[in-house]
């Protein structure tokens, strides 16, 4: 999997790994780079980090929730955050969130869920998750979740994996 270095246009090898306890300390110490969520509250959860192969600096974080069996068989992207310096037009690297989401798709295939991935969107983001990553909005509305959900099924997941990982 590769990221794009904006300044040079070069592709740089990246990797995604489970977060270890030391990483949580690093994130806490360096909380200006991941300032939007309390990642420490997710210590007991399935959290992954994205970094360059050549550098230990964490560039993106993602928390997944596994929904095995009981008719769901899907992976939920519960939380995702790209590091502060990579969020705007003047960012250093592009494709971080795409690689993380594609990784969730790959995990879904690997666990036998046929590539099913979902997340709960804010209403104003539906269109953007759709155009950026191919998420499809499903009008599953509950009193607490009037926005419905967004999902990637087998074909959409495969497309994302080919685009960001293969």
């Amino acid at each position: 999997m590769v990221l794009e270095e904006i300044s040079s246009g070069e592709q740089v090898e990246a990797t995604i790994e489970p977060l270890n306890l030391n990483d949580f300390k690093v994130i806490k110490r360096d909380k200006s780079r991941f300032d939007s969520f309390n990642w420490n509250a997710y210590k007991s959860r399935e959290v992954y980090k994205l970094r360059l192969v050549s550098d230990e600096t964490i560039l993106g974080l993602m928390c997944l929730t596994d929904h095995p069996g009981e008719g769901i068989d899907a992976i939920e992207i519960e939380l995702l955050e790209v590091s502060l310096e990579n969020r705007r037009g003047n960012r250093k690297f592009a494709l971080i969130a795409g690689c993380l989401i594609a990784f969730a798709c790959r995990e879904s295939f690997k666990r036998g869920y046929e590539g099913w991935v979902f997340l709960k969107p804010k209403t104003y983001l539906k269109e953007h998750y759709s155009s950026k990553y191919g998420f499809v909005w499903v009008p599953i509305k509950t009193p607490s979740q009037p926005e419905g959900i967004m999902e990637l099924n087998t074909n959409n997941s495969l497309r994302l994996i080919k685009r960001y990982i293969d």
């Binding site: 939007s36 009981e70 008719g71 666990r111 997340l119 983001l125 499903v138 509950t142 099924n153």
Partner: protein, 175 residues
């Protein structure tokens, strides 16, 4: 920690979609209701899914399991070349004899490879790549074979020790 309201003030929706996924409902009854609704939806869609799509998903699962096993430092007694070849054939819902015919290999040879009584030939591995339409490349199968070898050497020192009698001289020191 910022509230989503602050993030919305600071970034455009497009920038947010490229950098964040916000957490959904945490309260159990709310989450349960959402998951129940998703379960119903998932079931309906799965029932309509074509056999071809299911097969693609099954083969991708196998491919990613192989890739991750190759990448890991772990050496497994179970995850052998033969184990994964057997999985490949069974996910295609083929009998060994039928598969042997498709890649023009003697059924007995295929059976011995699957049951770890014989090493696969290069030709067999090349044919696996071709049969899978390059989705399971020869290099992947060769790397699996390397893992098999590493497991043997780690757990069966006698393979190496049996050659002692043929070595007439050796270094007198350890590095």
């Amino acid at each position: 920690m910022k509230s989503s309201k602050n993030i919305e003030k600071e970034y455009t929706p497009e920038e947010i979609a490229e950098s964040f996924v916000f957490p959904g409902p945490k309260a159990s009854p709310e989450r349960d209701a959402m998951l129940e609704a998703f379960r119903e939806h998932r079931k309906k869609v799965s029932e309509k899914q074509s056999e071809r799509t299911k097969l693609i998903a099954q083969l991708l699962q196998l491919k990613y399991l192989i890739e991750d096993y190759i990448k890991s430092d772990h050496l497994s007694k179970e995850y052998t070349f033969g184990y994964f070849l057997k999985e490949y054939i069974s996910r295609l819902e083929k009998k060994n004899n039928q598969f042997a015919e498709e890649i023009n290999v003697d059924p007995a040879e295929l059976s011995q490879v699957i049951n770890k009584r014989r090493k696969p030939t290069e030709k067999l591995i090349f044919r696996l790549e071709i049969h899978s339409n390059r989705n399971f490349p020869a290099l992947m199968w060769f790397r699996l074979l390397e893992k098999d070898r590493a497991y043997e050497l780690k757990h069966h020192r006698e393979i190496i020790d049996s050659e002692k009698k043929n070595v007439k001289q050796r270094l007198a020191f350890s590095l």
